[in-house]
Symmetry: C2
DNA sequence: ACCACAAGTTACTTTATGTAACTAACTTTA
DNA sequence: TAAAGTTAGTTACATAAAGTAACTTGTGGT
């Protein structure tokens, strides 16, 4: 991979958001916490990828994972402040899509 | 692929923007037209992918391609109104990245 | 013991991306 | 006139990421 003059923070943000499903997962969590299966049902994503993406988002601090030791187990995902700070960006994409497609 | 209740326009926008390099290419064109090699030099992307992405963006009407029959040939890419309308989104990602990374 | 359930994980196939060498068309240089 | 240089790509091949479907784990109910 070539080197670049690109701002490393922007490059990192783009690497995250420019990954398939990432922004849509955040979009699904904007209105509040959701369970694994709820996100899976609301997007055409497979469990494999959803699991992978949620781990990445958790690692980057955009998403928080909470386990409820019920039976069967319940796991909720919700946005951290860092994740929620993307609301305007996601909203912007949404309104752009409505205006131009 | 599963079906979904997701708004088709948003899904389409995300499919475009959630593709590697797409948003960064648009970012490079925000300040005005650039040539193929200029974009290639300003991003760690290969000619193969850049060519592919520019074709997609042209097909979706975000980017316009202009050929100048000089020697050697010069080709410029610039944003259409539809492409430029993403400026706020890109700016939003940029400021989010500066604040949170 | 057997089934149900959520939340994953695994194994395998297909598609996307990365890398480097190559091409077309024309000009300048030797 | 042949060789070399220029931009804007394209091609062929290797590797990484994504899609699909079946399987696992932990627990409680019948």
């Amino acid at each position: 991979m070539k080197e670049t003059l690109l701002c490393p923070r922007l490059a990192k943000a783009m690497e995250l958001l420019g990954k398939r499903w990432t922004a849509l997962i955040i979009f699904q969590l904007i209105d509040g916490a959701k369970r694994f299966n709820e996100i899976e049902s609301s997007l055409p994503i497979s469990g494999r990828l959803l699991s992978e993406r949620l781990k990445e988002l958790e690692k980057e601090g955009l998403v928080e994972r909470t386990v409820f030791s019920e039976v069967p187990v319940r796991v909720e995902y919700n946005l951290t402040d860092k994740g929620y700070a993307l609301k305007d960006v996601i909203d912007g994409i949404e309104s752009w899509s409505k205006e131009w497609f």
